[in-house]
C-alpha cells in the first residue's frame, strides 16, 4: 500500500528540514556569540526572538495585514486564473489574444508595476491585493492551461464514444485531470502572492510586515528588521503547507502517484 509509505517518507523529510533549520540558527547564535558583530549589523537569534516577544501584538497586527493582502490576492488570482484558463483552452480567440498577452507581459517584472498600483489605488490594502493578484495570476493560468490540455487522447475518445458534451468532458475529465497541475501552480502562486504584498508595502504603506521592515530600516533597528523577516519566513512556509495539505485532501491519487514514483527512482 502506497499511503503509509508516503506518510512515513514525508514525515522523515519534515524532520530533516526541521533539523537543518535548527542547526542553521544554532550556528548563527554561536557565530554571533564568538564574533560579537555590532547589533545593527547582525543581531543574534535570541535577540530577535526577544524583540518579537516585546511587542507581540504589534507584530501580529502587521502580519495579519500582510497575510490578508496575500490571501485575497491569491484567491482572486485563483478564481480569475481558472476561469481564464478554461476560456483559453476552449476559445481560439482568447488563446490568441489573452494568452499571448499574458505570456508577453510575463517578461515584465511585475514588482516594477507596484508604484503604478499605488498611484491608481492609494496606499491602503487594495493596492497590495492588486499587486499580489497580478504577480500570482500568471502561474495559475499557465499551469491550469497545461493541466486542462494534458488529457489522454484515448480518454477524450472514450467520452466522445459516449457522446459526452463539452461541459461534461470539462467537468468529468479535464478539470479533475488538471487538478495536480493546478496545485503545483498554486504553490508557486502562493509564494509569489506574498512577494507581491511585500513589494506593495515597500512602495507605500502604513501597515504590514513590509512596512515594519522599511520603518525599522530607517531607524537602524536591525533586530526589528530581522524579526519581521523571520516572521515572513514562517508565514511563507505555513501558506505553502496549507496548499500542500489541500492538495493531499483534494487529489490523493496524485500525491500517492508521486510518492510511489519517488520510491521507485
Amino acid at each position: 500500500m502506497p499511503a503509509p509509505e508516503s506518510a512515513a517518507s514525508s514525515s522523515s523529510r519534515a524532520l530533516q528540514v526541521a533539523l537543518v533549520v535548527v542547526g542553521f540558527f544554532v550556528l548563527w547564535q554561536l557565530g554571533v556569540m564568538l564574533g560579537r558583530p555590532p547589533d545593527y549589523l547582525l543581531p543574534a537569534p535570541n535577540a530577535i526572538f526577544a524583540e518579537l516577544m516585546t511587542a507581540p501584538l504589534y507584530y501580529f497586527r502587521n502580519a495579519m495585514q500582510t497575510i490578508g493582502a496575500t490571501l485575497l490576492g491569491f484567491t482572486l488570482a485563483l478564481v480569475v486564473g481558472c476561469l481564464a484558463a478554461v476560456g483559453i483552452v476552449y476559445s481560439r480567440v482568447l488563446e490568441n489574444t489573452l494568452y499571448t498577452l499574458l505570456v508577453a507581459l510575463n517578461s515584465v517584472p511585475k514588482v516594477a508595476l507596484a508604484p503604478l498600483f499605488i498611484i491608481w489605488m492609494g496606499t491602503g490594502l487594495s493596492s497590495k491585493i492588486a499587486i499580489s493578484f497580478l504577480i500570482a495570476l500568471f502561474a495559475i493560468v499557465v499551469d491550469s492551461v497545461l493541466g486542462l490540455r494534458s488529457v489522454d487522447p484515448d480518454a477524450v475518445d472514450l467520452f466522445r464514444s459516449l457522446k459526452g458534451g463539452r461541459l461534461q468532458t470539462l467537468l468529468l475529465l479535464r478539470a479533475p485531470n488538471a487538478l495536480p497541475h493546478l496545485f503545483s501552480g498554486m504553490k508557486v502562486a502562493m509564494s509569489l502572492a506574498l512577494v507581491g504584498a511585500i513589494a506593495g508595502e515597500f512602495v507605500a504603506s502604513q501597515a504590514g510586515l513590509g512596512y515594519v521592515i522599511l520603518a525599522a530600516q530607517g531607524a537602524f533597528q536591525t533586530t526589528r528588521v530581522f524579526a519581521a523577516i523571520v516572521l515572513l519566513g514562517v508565514l511563507g512556509t505555513i501558506l505553502f503547507y496549507i496548499v500542500d495539505l489541500a492538495e493531499r485532501l483534494v487529489c490523493p491519487w496524485h500525491v500517492s502517484h508521486r510518492a510511489r514514483h519517488r520510491g521507485e527512482s
Binding site: 500500500m1 475518445d157 466522445r160 459526452g164 468529468l172 479533475p176 491519487w253 496524485h254
Partner: protein, 269 residues
C-alpha cells in the same frame, strides 16, 4: 465471405470503406475498399501487423473517425457518429485516477446522465463476474494492469451494448495475464453473447477467441481474407496445443507470408 449468417440481416455491414489521411494526391491511404459483414452475436477479430489500418477501421466503426468513402451500417442504420449501443475498450485502460473502481465502471452512466443508483447493482454484478468482487472502493492505482483492464471491460459493458469494440485490449499485458483475460472474455461472451470486434496482432489470440478472423494487409490497409474458426466452445487454453488449432494458425501465417508480411520466424503467435 461466403459464410454470412444472411447477407441482408448483417448486424454490422462495412462496404467499400476508404480512409485517406491528407490530400488525394499526397495523402496516405490507410484503408482501401474494406468490406465485411458481421452477424449478430458474432466474435470477429481484425488481425494484422501494425500499420495495416485495423485500429483505423475500428475507429471508423466506432464513429470516432469519418471514412473518406464507403459506408458503415449498424443494425441497418448508417453510422455517422458514435452509436448508442456500443461499448469500447482501448489498449490502455484509461481509467480515471480520481474515481474508485465502481465509479469508473459507472462513468458511462454519468456521461449519459442516467440514474447511477439504478445501475450500481449492474456494475457490482459485472465486477463480481470478472473476478473483481470486493474491489469496488479501491482506486485504479492500487490495481495491477490486468485488473485495470478488467475494470475497463466492465465499464464498456455497463450499458449493455450490443456491439463491443476492443482495440488491442490485452496488448500491453504480460503473456500470462493475457491468457487469463482471453479465458475471461470468452466466458463473458458465452454468458451474454454480444457482437464483438476484436483488434489484435496475435494470430493465436485471434484464433482462440474468434468465430471468424479477418486477416488484414498493409499499404494500403485492406482485408485480404476472412477465416472461419470452427473450434468447439468453450475453448480451453489447451486447445492451442491441438493439431486443428495449429492448422488455423499456419493457414493464417501462410496468408501473411504470401503478402510478404512475415519473413522467417517473425510471426507473433
Amino acid at each position: 465471405m461466403n459464410d454470412l449468417p444472411s447477407a441482408d440481416q448483417a448486424f454490422l455491414a462495412v462496404s467499400r470503406l476508404d480512409k485517406r489521411y491528407g490530400t488525394q494526391e499526397e495523402g496516405i491511404l490507410a484503408l482501401k475498399e474494406v468490406s465485411i459483414e458481421i452477424g449478430n452475436a458474432e466474435f470477429v477479430s481484425l488481425l494484422g501487423p501494425s500499420g495495416c489500418g485495423k485500429s483505423t477501421l475500428l475507429r471508423c466503426i466506432a464513429g470516432l473517425e469519418r471514412p473518406s468513402a464507403g459506408m458503415i451500417e449498424l443494425e441497418r442504420r448508417v453510422v455517422i457518429g458514435p452509436p448508442d449501443n456500443m461499448g469500447i475498450v482501448f489498449q490502455r485502460d484509461v481509467l480515471l485516477d480520481w474515481l474508485t473502481v465502481i465509479r469508473n465502471v459507472l462513468l458511462p452512466a454519468r456521461i449519459r446522465r442516467l440514474p447511477l443508483e439504478e445501475l450500481r447493482p449492474k456494475a457490482e454484478r459485472l465486477l463480481h463476474l470478472i473476478g473483481l468482487g470486493g474491489f469496488e472502493d479501491r482506486f485504479p492505482w492500487e490495481l495491477s494492469g490486468g485488473m485495470r483492464q478488467r475494470v475497463a471491460i466492465c465499464r464498456a459493458l455497463l450499458l449493455d451494448p450490443s456491439l463491443l469494440l476492443m482495440d488491442e485490449p490485452f496488448g500491453a499485458l504480460d503473456a500470462m495475464t493475457r491468457d487469463e483475460l482471453n479465458i475471461e472474455l470468452q466466458r463473458l461472451w458465452l454468458a451474454d453473447a454480444k457482437t464483438v470486434l476484436f483488434v489484435t496482432h496475435s494470430i493465436a489470440e485471434a484464433v482462440f477467441l474468434s468465430d471468424r478472423v479477418a486477416v488484414m494487409s498493409r499499404s494500403p490497409g485492406r482485408i485480404v481474407e476472412v477465416i472461419t474458426v470452427d473450434l468447439p466452445r468453450p475453448r480451453e487454453l489447451a486447445v492451442r496445443e491441438t493439431a486443428e488449432f495449429a492448422r488455423y494458425v499456419s493457414q493464417i501465417r501462410r496468408i501473411f507470408e504470401s503478402f510478404g508480411m512475415l519473413r522467417g520466424s517473425h510471426a507473433r503467435a
